[in-house]
Symmetry: C2
Subunit: 215 residues, 2 copies
Amino acid sequence: MSKANVVSKSSRSERKRRAILEAATKVFLQHGFLGTSMDEVAARAEVSKQTVYKQFASKEALFIGIVQSMTDAAGAQVQRDMGDPQDAEQLAAELLAYAERQLAIVMTPRLMQLRRIVIGEAGRFPQLGKALYDGGPGRAIKGLASTFTRWADRGLLVVDKPAVAAEHFNWLVMGEAVNRAMLLGDEGIPGPAALRRRAADAVHVFLAAYGNRGA
Amino acid sequence: MSKANVVSKSSRSERKRRAILEAATKVFLQHGFLGTSMDEVAARAEVSKQTVYKQFASKEALFIGIVQSMTDAAGAQVQRDMGDPQDAEQLAAELLAYAERQLAIVMTPRLMQLRRIVIGEAGRFPQLGKALYDGGPGRAIKGLASTFTRWADRGLLVVDKPAVAAEHFNWLVMGEAVNRAMLLGDEGIPGPAALRRRAADAVHVFLAAYGNRGA
């Protein structure tokens, strides 16, 4: 097989994989794990069921693929652009921009519905929950912990336990909004102005505890 | 009917209601909402199906009864004994005791499994999620908001928005622990020593932001 053929075959396969993921995401979010059939996914993606199984060995593997692809996309958007502030004012602005971005990107009906389904299935399929944890809050908290360590080294924060500080920031920002969305449905998702107020309040509390007042 | 008869009939009915709730709780937590049948509940409670329906008009009503009874019991234990501290030291001790109590009472496999099931069903049965929100985090946050207002009036806290301060305290204490339990299953529930550390860290951050440093 020529090199061009290999490339075009692999990009065809990648295109099919994306079409399957896209179709499967819609079906899963609408019908949940138990309510989704591989037949429906194949029909929606306009491929054969055999093609679906060639890309994803099982319905579980397909759902894990969906969780990873949705959380990866959201995580990449949230984590981008963590700069290095020079003073307390820039630090506050950086934290606020992050908090606003995280709320805007995560508090969407699609991601909240994914999270509801995954939690509902966590007992039966622990791998689903682990994939969402690792790609979602776990990744966010790890990223923050490493950023906070850097900022503490530069004298902007006073942080003994970076992972705990990162958890605190994450849940000051996300806690009530995610909880409402989980239990009260999409109507529980706060509007843009309320989300911005939440971001500002969270940054204020975080800096009172972890800001270096000498800086 | 004599008064004694009325009393004994109502206490018999109350006893049956409790037996049904207890049996139904076990079945629901094990099999989820869709996997639970009223036949199985009746058999486990050793009453007729007719008796079950006399107490609870539908499976939905029964599950709401379970959510209310479980969250009421937990909420009453968490909320007890909120005293009025006299100084900053007593204030910190009071907050720490509350946080430790809340983590110990809420972070149990039973309540976490109830929460997982309710979240998984939130789309289909919004009333379930509302019952858990109202009886669980909603009640805790309302209680804290009113306590924080009192403590601010006594000069111990500086609180502009008591409801926001209450949300912050609640999620500083509960956020990461609940999230892990939701996504990583019972193995995600931190052990007693880790829960006590979480409580202490949360109180520290809360007081840095909301403590009255002049007090």
